[in-house]
């Protein structure tokens, strides 16, 4: 059962990734990427990395994708600008590079899978606990509580600083 879910999620992620590079409409491309991230998050959940899954959704699917969408909307990218990108000749020229990178990545992931598969059950359990919510909570709200809280003030200071420096002209006009 677990195998079945994993493979269907993996297939979904690959299809989404293909959609990112083949879609002509940038919005569709971004939505495919979102789908890929979502599938990957489910894979993390499947192997017990709850926090990583949540972070994947929150940070990548939430924050970064929204940023992408904003940039696309603001720049008003049309389909026409990508015209030469899709010609058959351009694709043919890129094919060797794509194959090289793809094969290297595939080889690396097989190697990594063998490494992890080869170690003992204890080591695997150990690896699992690293990404668990419990461990992260202990580090964040125990050992490094002060730094964690100070980081929130740091973000506040950063926001205030940026607004103070960047929004100045506009406020003057409004006044």
């Amino acid at each position: 059962m677990e195998q079945l879910v994993f493979y269907s999620l993996g297939l979904g992620a690959v299809i989404g990734a293909l959609g990112v590079v083949t879609a002509k409409n940038p919005i569709l491309s971004v939505l495919s990427l979102l789908w890929t991230f979502f599938c990957l998050a489910c894979v993390y959940l499947l192997i017990g990395f709850e926090f990583l899954a949540v972070a994947q959704i929150l940070v990548y699917a939430g924050a970064i994708m929204v940023l992408f969408l904003f940039v696309i909307m603001l720049l008003n990218l049309g389909t026409s600008e990508a015209a030469d990108f899709d010609t058959a000749r351009a694709m043919g020229r890129r094919l060797p590079l794509v194959l090289l990178v793809g094969c290297t990545l595939a080889a690396l992931s097989i190697l990594a899978a063998q490494q992890v598969g080869g170690t003992s059950d204890e080591a695997r359990a150990d690896l699992r606990s690293v990404g668990s919510l419990t461990d992260l909570a202990q580090v964040m709200f125990g050992t490094y509580l002060l730094a964690f809280e100070a980081a929130s003030i740091l973000l506040l200071a950063g926001t205030v600083a940026v607004v103070m420096l960047a929004k100045r002209e506009r406020r003057k006009n409004a006044a």
């Binding site: 419990t134 909570a137 202990q138 709200f141 125990g142 050992t143 490094y144 509580l145 002060l146 730094a147 100070a150 980081a151 003030i153 740091l154 506040l156 200071a157 950063g158 205030v160 600083a161 940026v162 607004v163 103070m164 420096l165 100045r168 406020r171 006044a175």
Partner: protein
């Protein structure tokens, strides 16, 4: 799930040790709230001053009864950390008092300015007591990010924006060095806490490199040779109240942690640190001799003072037989320096807010006749910076050199004392310009009667004299 968490709840000691930081955090939130709600705007100054005075009061309590290690060993609310924190909060008050009439074009953004000063102060408090590299780094960034923005606060001016960008780029580079060093230290010892690092053997090349990178990035922050090149331009371009804060508070927080991590230096590094200290003093003092711009002159003088403090670190590394000697000496020196340099930079801000020509040394001619009180205060600060007897600056220097001599750093001490004599050359030039040279035709007038500026100038004057004349009172209570 909750039952699985092995989190030690915050106890009374944690809250007591963190109380100054909480006070400053309240100040930040109140200052920002005052910007949002127009009815609260008049209370902004009160929120700023109130939170810092509360922090100082709480630090004084902590000096009398330290809370020890809190937040499961991430922060040490020790007496010396609290004293450094007290100095940082004081330096924020001094900078603020001189900033009240300083900004003209930027006056509508004073609320953000004050909130960022408080953020930087919070960062300093964290840096002063941090007991692991991660906590320190967050404090360092909390100090740096607001200061990058504050350096560029006068957006309409080219030099201010340039200062902000320069400080930001070099600061980001230094932060990278620190993180890389911390990563190497973690890779070789498996811990980020100072106690863990102290226990681990740090002889492996990886650990040595990590320690060197961490210390280099701290040298950048406190402007030690050869990492001092940003200082004159950034100090000159930044608004003078911000420069006041940078020169005093940042230095206190940086040296507070430098003393904590001095153990990262290998045994032979004491001589190298001493040599760097002397080189810093030489570069600062010799360059200051030829400056005609007051802010640049004080900037190079600030570099020289960083060198003197570094001699204290060298004394610690070389093994002063009196174990707490170097740190106490540095604390006394820093205490005198906060009030002296704070007052000196502050008076420049006060004069500059009236007329920018006062940034030139020549504009001070004959000021002793027109504004004797102000000229007398500035002269006193000059004498204290130069280490004249009967001032706080003299005793600070004396303690540092005494500690260095106890640690057998004879050569560096002698060179340092000689360079202090060189420094008198430019400090006395300012005094001479104030009192002995006649005013030029059409010299700018100075009529500023800013109440907060006068009060803080009095405070600095009294403290400089008290630290010089009645050291026993302070040594009894704070050391």
């Amino acid at each position: 799930m909750i039952a699985l968490l092995d989190i030690t709840a915050l106890d009374a000691a944690d809250l007591r040790g963190a109380a100054p930081m909480l006070a400053v955090t309240c100040g930040i939130l109140l200052a920002l709230a005052a910007e949002i709600v127009p009815a609260l705007r008049p209370a902004r100054g009160l929120a700023f001053l109130g939170s810092l005075v509360a922090a100082i009061f709480l630090e004084v309590q902590l000096i009398a009864a330290p809370a020890g290690e809190i937040f499961s060993g991430a922060f040490g609310a020790t007496a010396s950390a609290s004293l450094f924190g007290l100095l940082c909060a004081t330096s924020a008050i001094i900078a603020w008092a001189y900033s009240l009439r300083y900004y003209k074009l930027e006056a509508p953004y004073k609320g953000e300015h004050d909130a960022l000063i408080l953020c930087a102060t919070l960062g300093m408090l964290i840096m002063c007591g941090a007991l692991d590299l991660l906590t320190f780094f967050v404090g360092l960034e909390l100090l740096s990010v607001p200061l990058y923005a504050l350096a560029a606060f006068r957006r309409a001016r080219r030099d201010s924006v340039e200062a902000g960008l320069r400080y930001f780029l070099l600061g980001a580079f230094a932060a990278g060095l620190f993180l890389f060093g911390a990563a190497l230290l973690y890779a070789s010892s498996g811990t980020l806490s100072l106690a863990g690092l102290r226990a681990a053997s740090l002889d492996a090349p990886l650990a040595l490199m990590g320690g060197a990178l961490v210390i280099s990035s701290l040298f950048f922050k406190v402007s030690v040779f050869p990492f001092h090149l940003w200082v004159p331009d950034v100090y000159q371009g930044s608004p003078t109240p911000v420069t006041t804060f940078m020169a005093t508070g940042t230095k206190a927080a940086g040296f507070a942690f430098l003393f904590q991590v001095a153990f990262l230096m290998p045994a032979g590094a004491a001589a190298l640190t001493g040599a760097l200290a002397v080189a810093t003093m030489a570069v600062g003092n010799l360059a200051a001799l030829v400056q005609t711009d007051l802010k640049r002159l004080f900037a190079f003088s600030a570099v020289a003072h960083a060198g003197t403090l570094l001699l204290g670190v060298a004394a610690l590394a070389a093994g002063d037989p009196v174990a707490s000697g170097p740190l106490d000496a540095a604390l006394y020196y820093m205490g005198a320096y906060i009030f002296t340099a704070g007052g000196a930079f502050g008076l420049v801000a006060l004069m500059e807010s009236e007329d920018e020509r006062f940034l030139k040394l020549d504009a001070l001619r004959g000021l002793g006749r027109r504004r004797p009180g102000l000229a007398a205060a500035l002269s006193l600060f000059m004498l204290s910076l130069g280490g004249f007897p009967l001032t706080g600056g003299f005793l600070g220097k004396y303690f540092i050199f005494a500690s260095a001599l106890r640690a057998d750093l004879l050569l560096f001490s002698v060179l340092g004392i000689l360079l202090s004599v060189v420094a008198l050359g430019y400090y006395l030039r300012v005094v001479m310009t104030l009192w002995m040279l006649p005013a030029e035709e059409g010299a700018p007038l100075l009529e500023s009667k800013l109440l907060s500026g006068r009060l803080v100038t009095w405070l600095c004057t009294v403290m400089v004299l008290a630290l010089g004349l009645a050291p026993g009172w302070f040594l009894e209570r704070f050391f």
